[in-house]
């Protein structure tokens, strides 16, 4: 007997989307010159026209940020700065539903995730960092750590508001001012955040938000008036940024790509593990830099895990992101969908075996069914390259040492997963894995108190916790 779910759509009535937006500079919305559309990737409906920031806009934003830094924000006591951040956190909580609906419309992620993960975590990030503002001398960087100045921040489209919070909250708590560029395909929640800054009466110029594409990002990276670059995005662009800032005195943090191994030992609790595998790769359509995209199964349980995983995947609900029962929403953009399709085709041509559950995908919008590839080897491109979509590559291993060797055989080192009931084995594996975040018997958990960031080509620095805060302060001996 099959139970059908009745549709449970969230209402979009709570949000008002303007037909056209400008930039948020010096506390005011200013008109842009050129515009480009932002669409709902689940329907291809044009939601609004977004300004494309050019040199003059970025200059104006940097100027406003510098002025606010010099005249207001760097002179204000930490106690007062903190109160502004608390205000922002509270207003985000008050308007959480509005943010969640807007995020889902612009990004395509299920409302369940934007409502339960993205928005609450973003507010929590501001609340956490608010408390740091008047305690910086206890952050382990000496008795008088100093802010860096103006931070240029470039965020991706996968967690638009959450990535904004990860960047803006620590920067402001440490006494910096910011110029933030939202992602090309997901600008709307950043623009709503600008309204929150106004409601919180944040001094003009402390937060400036420009919208645009990669060309706007390059203007920020190369701007001489900026002291710090914080970027989340691809490793390819991260390296371009690292080269661009090499001749300058800019500080840099980079949160880049990943190809995380999710290792299942033969003593793992299989049912919980299957949930963890699904969460690891299908959370947010797999648009997650720390996604558990390489499943490493111990050979003697591989068959059982795969059988249960396929059963579980049959029950994943793919479709309308605004439906509260939806598990997997729309792929964020046409370009990203093309990239996923291309890499999946490479998986086929290199001899891996593709499997997806039967699911009906909507006719409009950008969609990709949850997919696993079995028979994958380390040489396959789908085992090496970040797909950034709902595609899982399955490999097997015989001994724990082999699992670790395979897991670490990648230029990335952002995250990894371990599934085992044996405490000593779990801790052993967590020691051996070369990755910045290790989830043992869980996956894709985030918290403002918990540092996040990668080894090797997954980036520089951490975000979250005391470690993340230090990326916005001077006080250590090295440059």
């Amino acid at each position: 007997m099959t139970f059908e779910y009745a549709p449970a759509p969230e209402s979009r009535a709570i949000v008002t989307i303007k037909p056209k937006y400008g930039h948020f500079i010096g506390g005011k919305f200013v008109a842009g010159s050129k515009h480009f559309p932002t669409i709902n990737p689940a329907t291809e409906e044009v939601l609004s026209q977004i300004a494309l920031a050019g040199k003059a806009d970025v200059d104006a934003a940097v100027k406003a940020a510098r002025k606010a830094y010099a005249n207001t924000w760097s002179k204000m006591s930490g106690k007062e700065r903190g109160k502004y951040l608390y205000r922002i956190a509270r207003i985000m909580q008050e308007r959480a539903r509005e943010f969640a609906v807007l995020e889902t419309l612009d990004n395509g992620k299920p409302i369940r995730e934007s409502r339960d993960t993205d928005i609450p975590l973003a507010a929590a990030h501001f609340f956490y960092h608010a408390g740091w503002a008047d305690k910086l001398e206890y952050a382990g960087l000496g008795t008088s750590p100093k802010p860096l100045g103006v931070a240029g921040q470039i965020i991706p489209w996968n967690f638009p508001l959450l990535m904004l919070a990860w960047k803006v909250a620590p920067a402001l708590a440490a006494g910096n001012t910011v110029v933030l560029k939202s992602a090309e395909s997901t600008p709307l929640t950043a623009l709503l955040f600008a309204e929150v800054c106004q409601q919180a009466e944040l001094p003009a110029g402390v937060v400036n938000i420009v919208t645009g594409d990669g060309s706007t990002g390059a203007l920020i990276v190369n701007h001489p008036g900026i002291d710090k670059i914080a970027f989340t995005g691809s490793t390819e662009v991260g390296k371009i940024i690292a080269r661009a800032v090499a001749p300058t005195n800019k500080s840099v943090t980079l949160e880049l790509g990943g190809k995380a191994a999710n290792i299942v030992f033969d003593d793992a609790p299989i049912d919980e593990t299957v949930e963890g595998i699904v969460n690891g790769i299908f959370f947010n359509q797999g648009h997650v830099c720390c996604a558990g995209s390489r499943l490493l199964l111990q050979e003697n349980v591989a068959e059982e895990v795969l059988h249960k995983l396929k059963n579980r995947m049959e029950k994943i609900r793919v479709g309308d992101p605004m439906d509260k029962n939806t598990d997997v929403g729309a792929i964020n953009s046409k370009e990203q969908l093309a990239k996923i399709i291309e890499l999946a085709a490479v998986g086929d041509s290199e001899g891996a075996e593709r499997w997806s559950p039967a699911c009906t995908l909507p006719s409009k919008g950008f969609w990709f069914a949850p997919t696993i590839f079995t028979g994958v080897t380390q040489a396959h491109r789908i085992a090496r390259e970040e797909i950034f979509g709902p595609v899982l590559s399955v490999l097997t291993f015989r001994t724990p040492a082999e699992a670790i060797e395979k897991a670490n055989n990648t230029p990335f080192g952002l995250s990894a997963g371990i599934w085992s009931e044996k405490g000593s084995r779990t801790l052993w594996a967590s020691q051996q894995l070369r990755a910045g975040v290790i989830w043992a018997n869980t996956f894709n958990k985030f918290d403002p108190t918990s540092p996040f960031g990668g080894y090797k080509e997954s980036g520089w620095g951490r975000e979250g916790g005391r470690h993340g805060l230090s990326a916005y302060l001077k006080g250590v001996s090295h440059e």
Binding site: A124, G140, T235, G238, K239, A242, R243, A246, P247, L254, L256, P411, T426, S430, Q431, A435, G436, V437, I438, W439, A440, N441, T442, K445, D447, T449, S450, P451, F452, G453, Y455, K456, E457, G459, W460, R462, G465, R466, H467, V476, S477, H478, E479
Partner: protein, 280 residues
């Protein structure tokens, strides 16, 4: 006055616990402050660097796994060995750099004391750079700093011994292994220091010392894909940009420092955060 002829030392490289000559057969002349010939140390080649990186990579797993207590004792043992041979170092520094005996003596004293200082950090740095994180959920969550892997370093021209120790000691304190390029003009105390290392129970490959030209070796270090990080304190700041551009290919962590500081240890550590559910 006896007519005995001195037995002079051949200065070679220090790679994987052994003292090989450069595979290139190249040397350069070191003269003392008065312009008198002193020695022909090796002009290390790119292949020597590669060999040193291979040794450092192979040594990393064991050194990283050694207990902090053990690493501390070995660093302390290096200080003991250096103390025992301080006269030789003073003499060498005076001879090569023309420094006064008092100044050379001070440098050696500081070098010994610096090693003792770092020896004490091995089992304390984690409590500074680590944390337990009170996440909002039923999870035990902690962050521990751990070594990065293989770090390469350019030691400053001067002070040639203290500068070298300031480069290598913080790097190995946390469990990294290192390939260091010694002072070009005054490389002799670095190579004599290798003899100290060789008798200090330091596992082979943990510290590898090259002599040669910064302009040759630094770019090779920057572009080497199996080096995780670089300390370029000994490199002219005009050269930093090019090194950083080359190092971006594998996103090396590249730093330079002005003083001895625990931040110097932490700069070459990665923070690893582990989550585990709490429940019955």
């Amino acid at each position: 006055m006896s007519n005995r002829i001195d037995v002079k030392k051949t200065y070679k490289l220090f790679i994987n616990g052994a003292f090989p000559r450069t595979e290139s057969g190249r040397t350069y002349e070191v003269k003392n402050a008065k312009g008198v010939f002193v020695a022909n140390p090796c002009l290390a080649s790119r292949k020597d660097l590669r060999d040193a990186v291979v040794a450092a990579r192979a040594a990393h797993a064991g050194w990283n796994k050694a207990t902090a207590y053990n690493r501390g004792q070995i660093l302390y043992r290096i200080a003991e060995m250096l103390e025992g041979r301080r006269g030789q170092f003073v003499e060498e520094i005076v001879n090569v750099t023309g420094a006064t005996k008092t100044k050379a003596d001070k440098e050696v004293t500081e070098s010994i004391d610096r090693l003792v200082w770092y020896a004490g950090w091995t089992d304390k740095i984690a409590s500074l750079a680590g944390s337990t994180n009170p996440v909002a959920g039923p999870f035990y969550n902690f962050t521990i700093p751990e070594s990065m892997g293989v770090v390469a370093a350019i030691a400053p021209e001067n002070p040639s011994l203290l500068g070298l120790i300031d480069a290598v000691a913080p790097i190995i304190t946390s469990g990294n292994t290192v390939v260091v390029l010694a002072s070009t003009k005054a490389p002799l105390s670095a190579m004599t220091f290798a003899e100290v290392l060789a008798t200090s129970d330091l596992p082979a490959g943990v510290i590898n010392i090259l002599t040669g030209k910064k302009d040759e070796i630094a770019p090779w270090m920057a572009s080497h894909m199996d080096i995780d990080a670089l300390d370029i304190s000994g490199l002219s700041s005009k050269k930093h940009a090019d090194i950083k551009v080359a190092g971006a290919e594998n996103l090396k962590r590249i730093h330079s420092f002005k003083s001895a500081d625990p931040g110097r240890i932490i700069a070459f550590m990665e923070a690893k955060t582990v989550w585990h559910p709490i429940g019955l």
